[in-house]
Structure formats: C-alpha cells, structure tokens
C-alpha cells in the first residue's frame, strides 16, 4: 500500500478562484444564556456563551439566505444572471421536500439558467457548498457560483444545545481570482463516520453524544483538516494573519486554535459564538465575513469548518486589494450583531414555535 501524503488530498481547481462577494445575516433577537439557565437550572452553573441570535416569527433559512445573498451580490456587483449555481447548506431548511435554494435564486434574480440545490452535512453543509462552488468556477463550468451556509438551529428545551443553537449565516459568491476580494489557494476535507450528533426523520430536536462531541469528533476532524492543509501548502500558524474555526460554543474554537499554535489575537475578529451562538452551517462562514470586514490586502486567513457525523473542510485564503472597495457596499457583520433586541424565554418559546396551540 502506498503511503498517503497531505499533498494528495489538497483540493485545488484548474483555474484560480476566489471570493468575489460575501454577505452576512444575523436576526435581531438575542436570548441571554442566563435567561435559559434561569428556566432550567435555577440560574446555577456556568453557561457556554453570553447570548444567542434568534430568528423572528417571519424569518427562516430562506429569508435569511436571501438577505445574505443580496449582501454578497451588492459587494460583488455582478449580474445575477451570470450565476450558475445557488446552493444553500443548512440543517433547518423550512421544507423537508422543496428546495430552499430555488426561492433564494428567484429572489436574487438568478433564475432560470442556474443550478439550485440544498446541501446537508450538520454544521458544514455551507463549506461543502463552497468547495463545490470552487470546483464549478475552477473547472470553467460556471462564471459565478453562490454558496450559502444558514441555519435556524434547534435545541431541545433544557438540553445543553438550547444555550447555543442559534440563527444566522453567510453567503459566499465564488468567481475567478482576478475579480476576487480574497483568493482561495486550496482546501482540504477530512471526513469519518463519527456519530456525535444527529436528528432522525420527523424528530423536532437533535440528539447528541454529550462529551463524545469533543475529542473524537470536533477536535480530531478540525485538527486533521487544518494540519493536513497547512502541511500540503507548507504553512505554519504564524504564516496566517487570521483564523476562523467552527464555533459550537466559545470554548472549542479557542482550544483548537491553541492546539494548532494560533494566538487569541488571530481568532478574535472571527470568534462570534459568545455573542450570537452557534449558527450551525453559518458558523464558520459568518466568522469569515467578520474577518473580511477588517482584513487588509495581503492578509492570509485559515478557515476550518466542522460538521457532526463528522468532518471538517479547511480553506487557505489570501485577501486582495479589492476588499477595501467591496466591504462597504453592504451591511457589515458587526453591524448586524450590534442590532440587538433582547427577548425573554417566553418570547423565545413563541418565536421558536415551542407553544402548541392544538
């Protein structure tokens, strides 16, 4: 058997590609983690984040994806009719059968000469779509492809996930490198069959393996993808200006960053989970939008997603000088986060459809 090297697993298309436009979306409602612990533990014990973002009654993955996509198009300033794929990664698509992506494609004016599909891989459905978009553009099949990671995540009342399962995400428009605000130098995927978290058909809430979600799941896969990508591209943590890791809580991304040799300063701008929670498919990608909002031309970014079940996609990204003109063309991620209306558990229960009327 031949020995396997990280270079063999590096994914890089024939044409150089990058991020032509990007856009975030975070709904305005926030429920503090302490409000949740007050309900279930009498407020005793620590909480994994400060607060999480909650979608309003008239918001779902479709409406949130539309706004993020419009922001990405505003930044990219492209004709939506030149888009050949609209892909929405989520684990909370409003329909079980009927694509979210067709509604998004219709609303942004990309129909009818486009692909549209919904992706699913727990929290990394969005970055999977990003890789496919890289391939679509990098092969010459498409001029632009739009990848979206967006969720209105579910947490069983009283469960550990209820503190973090949040709403939000981002849209990343992929095109050729010469038009890009950030060039993608390559990506790497690391996947195994690891049952750390799942939701069965027709179940309202997911189940998870408690502490099993840590070492054999999140850390193994994030480390595996990140280390292999860095080795394949001959880079070290210090070569990057910024890093973004999937954020199921505040602790995991900080710990994995430290294990990989990154400093707290490198992950600071993209670490959003303490203030918005875990936006699942949106988590890593919205972290990237927050970094792009502050990055300078020439900056290098490492982005690593994680999806339960389980796997990670790692991306090596370099910011170009087009970023400075592009970022002010749409609402910044920090502006969305600062748009904040606090709600209590009763309002949260109504918004999240936890009250059964019949």
């Amino acid at each position: 058997m031949n020995e396997y090297t990280p270079q063999q697993g590096l994914m890089k298309p024939n044409l150089d590609v990058g991020i032509v436009g990007y856009g975030a979306y975070v709904p305005r409602y926030r429920i503090p983690a302490k409000e949740i612990s007050k309900m279930w533990t009498g407020g005793v014990g620590g909480v994994p984040i400060q607060e999480k973002a909650v979608n309003g009654l008239d918001e779902d993955v479709v409406t949130m994806s539309i706004e993020a996509a419009r922001n990405a198009l505003d930044r990219g300033q492209i004709n939506p009719r030149d888009i050949r794929a609209v892909w929405v990664g989520s684990e909370s698509h409003p329909y079980a059968v009927k694509p979210s992506s067709t509604t998004v494609a219709e609303a942004i004016g990309a129909v009818p000469n486009t692909q549209a599909a919904d992706w699913e891989f727990a929290c990394k459905a969005g970055t999977e779509a990003m890789q496919a978009a890289i391939a679509f553009v990098g092969s010459g099949m498409a001029r632009y492809a739009l990848s979206i990671g967006m969720d209105t995540a579910q947490g069983r009342p009283g469960d550990a996930l209820e503190y973090t399962a949040a709403a939000g995400g981002a849209a990343i428009l992929i095109g050729l490198a010469e038009e890009a605000v950030a060039v993608i130098n390559g990506s790497y995927s690391f996947v195994t069959d690891t049952p750390d978290f799942w939701r069965r058909a027709h179940a309202n809430y997911p189940s998870h393996g408690d502490r099993f979600t840590g070492e054999p799941a999140y850390f193994k896969h994030v480390m595996g993808a990140a280390e292999a990508l860095m080795e394949a591209l001959e880079r070290m943590a210090a070569d990057y200006d910024w890093a973004v890791f999937h954020q199921p809580n505040a602790k995991f991304p900080q710990r994995v960053a430290k294990m990989l040799g990154f400093t707290p300063e490198q992950i600071a701008p993209g670490l959003l989970s303490p203030r918005i929670g875990n936006t699942y498919s949106g988590s890593t990608m919205i972290g990237l939008t927050a970094v792009l909002d502050v990055a300078e031309p020439g900056d290098r970014i490492l982005m690593v997603s994680y999806g339960s079940g389980a796997g990670s996609d790692a991306f090596d990204i370099r910011v170009t000088d087009r970023i400075e003109a592009a970022r002010d063309r749409a609402m910044k991620t920090e502006t969305y986060i600062s748009r904040r209306t606090e709600i209590n558990y009763a309002t949260y229960s109504r918004f999240r459809d936890k009250l059964k009327m019949s």
């Binding site: 008239d58 918001e59 409406t63 539309i66 706004e67 219709e106 609303a107 609402m331 502006t335 748009r339």
Partner: protein
C-alpha cells in the same frame, strides 16, 4: 390556498417587480398593464429599489385568517421612492417606534403558512432604513 395564485405573484412579491409606462414614464406597482395616469399600455417590467417612506400605518390586533400567529403586527402604506403606494407589513421594528415619514427598505420575509402541511408564502415587508444607512 391556491398554489398557482401565489406562484403568479412571485416576481412582484420577492423582488418588487412592477411596470413602467412607455408614454408618460409613471411607475406602477402592483403591475396593471395599463397606465393609471395616461391609460396607455404599460407592460415593460420595472424592478423597484425597495426604498421609500411610511405614508401611514396602523397596528393589527385582530388578524385575518392565516395571519393570527403574527398578531399584533403593524402594517403601513409605504410611499416608494419611484412613486407608488404599497400596503405591507413592517418588520424588525416596535410599533411605538413607527412614524409617518420614516424611511424604510424592502426585505423578503415569510408572509404566512397554509397550516402545518401547506406551502410557505414569502414576500415583501418593510423595515426601518436607519441601519443600512450606516453602511455608507
């Protein structure tokens, strides 16, 4: 609920696509195919910017069928920058903060659902513009 009726209205509901009159230039929303000003045919499509201001508003407490789940909510007559008046729900705003003349922008939101198993209808609502203005 009629699926075909909602499908026919998608363009105007998702993107505020109306019409413009070739002979006098008036913009129409919703599309009517005949100019309200000069009665000439007006079939050329026109996509509105979604910017406008509140002309008048009221809060609905006793909601019609299909909208009960959202009550109370505020609806407004929105005067679009291009001219037409549009009736729509407001979102992302407390009713106390709404005022005549307030600048607003269009967003696409969930309008209603046909029960637990029926289709989900999406369309335009308006929210205060103040946040988007901070962009530039």
């Amino acid at each position: 609920m009629e699926v075909s009726r909602h499908w026919r209205l998608q363009e105007q509901r998702y993107k505020l696509v109306g019409e413009t009159c070739d002979s006098c230039g008036v913009k129409l929303f919703p599309p009517r195919d005949v100019c309200l000003e000069c009665e000439a045919p007006a079939k050329e499509l026109f996509t509105f910017t979604g910017l406008g201001e509140i002309f008048s508003y009221t809060t609905i407490y006793d909601a019609p069928a299909g909208f009960e789940h959202h009550a109370p909510y505020t609806i407004a007559l929105v005067k679009l920058d291009e001219g037409p008046l549009v009736t729509a729900q407001l979102t992302d705003v407390e009713k106390e903060d709404v005022a005549i003349g307030m600048p607003v922008e269009m967003v696409t939101r969930k309008l209603r659902t046909d029960g637990e198993e029926g289709m989900i209808v999406y369309g335009y609502k308006f929210r205060p513009l103040s946040l988007a203005q901070t962009v530039n």
